[in-house]
Amino acid sequence: MSAHRERIVIVGASLAGLRTAESLRAGGFTGELVLIGDEPHEPYDRPPLSKTVLSGRIGTGRLALRTSDLAARWLLGVAATGLDRAGRLVRLADGGSVGFDRLVIATGVRARPWPVAEQAALNGVHVLRGRDDADRLRADLAAGPDRVLVVGAGFTGSEVASSCRDLGLAVTLVHRGAAPMAGALGTAVGSAIGVRQRAHGVDLRVGTTVAALVGDRQGRLRQARLSDGDVVDADVAVVASGSLRNVEWLHGSGLAVDARGVHCDPACRVLDTDGAVVDGLYAVGDVARWRHPLFDGAPTALEHWGNAVDQAETAAHNLTRAPHGVRFNEAVPAFWSDQFGMNIKSVGLPHLADHVVLAQGGFDRRSFVAVYGRDGVTVGAVSVDSPRVMDGYRALITERAAFPPRIDATDSPAFATPSPILEGAARP
């Protein structure tokens, strides 16, 4: 017997990587643990960046995520640049490399940059993904710009706009789709939230894109030209138009990897280009693309805090228990967003839906719940300011209840007809 101590290397030192490491130790893994992170910071919580951090209520130094000791080796501030499967090595940006017995891929995503490099380089143009991004943007917002342009009204963009309004800043929020967050929540719910964004003073432009960011001679952002010909004066812009998966380091490794993520099974085991499980390789978090056993539909990456935690626990379980008792991640997905004084909660996968129906409250009332269906099956529910009823909806999703489900709560609408998820548009 060799005295070799098994080494698990986790590439990615944010929530998914950290939770995998913590769950491995909690599950009794006594071998070597190595965490590799491209950011120079110890793991921190990202959701507050667009909310409490930008509005100045909490500093980026107060977002610690670790809750236990890991007895791990940390390699921070260095990105992984390659994977040598045969040699079982991760190559690093500094020229070094780390050997592994088993590997967890948790490299996450980065913000999709503004596509025109010279415009992206203008002073005042930001993206928001990491804490350094947040610190830079916070400094620009604290300086009191006359107007902030937010490009993209997804969750990040909407939360950034909310924080700007908290600070009393004028905001123009430009969105390609028919309503804020419509890609995730559909047109009906997105529009209801859009009404509230406008009521909070946001200059919301839907069905619109930004054609160009325009700077002055000093290289400072001054204006944005919109697709409808309008020109908006703005000295700060936040580009919040989605993310790119950090998978380039895996190209050529023979794994099933593309721009949509690292393809894995519900046990978080990475698949190769033939669709076969690769021994000892796992993927978790935003970078992992998989099909949830509870839902029909194509495999997708779920860029949510909860998914990172759920997958981390699944991967750690399977790393410590496999091959006996391989577990699938069957936790019902969930996410939240806090913006404009509203608490939005989602269970299931509303983005898969073809129809949505109001189940409780009203789109014009402070609180409501909407239920999402796909092919006559309940697949999701979204609440605004009603977090205490969501377990009931989760049960409907778990049992794959017929859509629309019968609720008949006292605050359910008397008549509610399901509407197509994206009104006037085919499901993508």
Partner: protein, 415 residues
């Protein structure tokens, strides 16, 4: 013979309601929990498993509106000709939400500053109980006067009226028990009590309307959006709820906690050595011997639970005390173990009706139990089990006599 065989749960449930078993319902809860979800009768279900109860408390298809005579806007007129407005505990959204929100708006800032005041009040109660060896009724000396004093202070009721409040609370509590467990006489008595309660409250409300003070009642009458303010009947129902829920339950929590400590001298010793254990002790009392043993709902739509289908209109009894001892959720559930990890008990309910006074109850019980543990020398139970009050839904000792070798002085107030 052509009699219908009684459902298996009915016998155990009957014994649960029997006052002879009030001192220890837990073997009966365990018996009922053999089936996670079962029929009590044609239209009533019993739910005993933690995971099912926790979910159903948060399921919009269960209405809290009940059909007992003490609740609901459809309830008959009282003998004083006024309709009885149900407290928001037995109302549903959206009406529930506006009443609850206004109440919370008044309660939260008042509760936030309450901890030092509560600790001082507990200290005074034990000071008053004397210094030398003797016998103390924990219910009479601490468990009752503490919460009634706190609720009277919140509501701005003068101290000399505390006995009146106490008497109303005791009499109104009976109305929370399942209606089939009450005799015609008890139902008639309840009606009288409710009429008397209104007769007592309405002038008090009118005085504050005319001359508002800094108290919670004045706040509810005068603050916030006038369009949504409670009317007099809603206010009366809310105050009745705060009185019963904020008083009787805490009496039981402190008494049940003291009893558990005296039955578990090792825990008592640990708490005495480290009053910082008090929050964990209180959470474990809430799990182990909850003041509220069950809660009822009505289904508005079909619900799948535990392999059964609850039909619209069916009544669902959520056996909180059984869920708190569910071995699938709590390892070694019958052990009183404050250090247990992950103590997600159901004592305060959950969902939109989660106890509005939970934080206040916690502060009161933490202060009372740590003071009892640290200040009573060699406390021991005089009668085990102690005598219990007759009510089932809110369950607790009628008196809890403790012999002791002395009550030591208060520790100096800590920062």
């Amino acid at each position: 013979m052509t009699t219908t065989a009684p459902l298996p749960a009915a016998a155990a449930y009957g014994r649960l309601m029997d006052q002879a078993n009030r001192h220890d319902p837990y073997p009966l809860f365990a018996e009922l929990a053999a089936e996670p979800v079962q029929r009590l009768d044609a239209h009533t279900w019993l739910v005993a498993r933690h995971t099912d109860i926790a979910r159903l408390l948060r399921d919009p298809r269960l209405s809290a509106r009940d059909d007992a005579p003490h609740g609901g806007p459809d309830a008959p007129l009282g003998s004083d000709g006024l309709p009885f407005a149900g407290p928001f505990l037995s109302l549903d959204p959206p009406h529930h939400d506006t009443l609850r929100e206004q109440t919370m708006h008044q309660l939260v800032p008042r509760i936030l500053g309450m901890r030092p005041h509560i600790e001082a009040a507990v200290g005074q109660l034990l000071d008053a109980a004397g210094g030398g060896p003797g016998r103390l009724d924990i219910v009479e000396s601490v468990a009752y006067p503490l919460p009634v004093g706190v609720i009277c202070e919140l509501l701005g009721v003068p101290r000399e009226e505390e006995p009146v409040f106490h008497s109303f609370a005791t009499r109104l509590t009976r109305g929370l028990d399942p209606v089939e467990s009450l005799s015609a006489r008890q139902i008639a008595d309840l009606e009288v009590t409710r009429r008397d309660w209104r007769a007592y409250l309405l002038p008090m409300i009118a005085r504050r309307q005319a001359d508002p003070g800094a108290d919670l009642i004045s706040g509810l009458l005068t603050e916030g959006d006038p369009a949504h303010r409670m009317n007099t009947l809603e206010l009366g129902a809310t105050l009745g709820l705060l009185l019963i829920a904020g008083h009787e339950t805490t009496v039981n929590l402190v008494a049940n906690g003291t009893l558990a400590l005296l039955r578990h001298p090792d825990v008592l010793a640990r708490l005495r050595a480290d009053p910082g254990l008090a929050p964990a002790v209180v959470e474990e009392v809430l799990r182990f011997d909850p003041p509220v043993q069950m809660t009822g709902r009505h289904a508005t739509a079909p619900i799948q639970v535990g392999g059964q289908t609850v039909e619209p209109g069916d009544r669902v009894l959520l056996l909180l005390a059984a869920g708190n001892r569910d071995p699938l959720r709590f390892p070694d559930p019958d052990r009183f173990w404050p250090e247990r990890p992950d103590n997600a008990h159901l004592a305060f309910g959950g969902g939109v009706h989660y106890c509005v006074g939970a934080a206040l109850a916690r502060m009161e019980a933490q202060a009372a139990l740590s003071a009892i543990a640290t200040r009573l020398t060699a406390p021991r139970l005089v009668a085990d089990p102690p005598p219990y009050r007759p009510t089932m839904l809110l369950r607790g000792p009628r008196e809890l006599l403790v012999d002791h070798d002395g009550i030591t002085g208060r520790a100096p107030a800590s920062g």
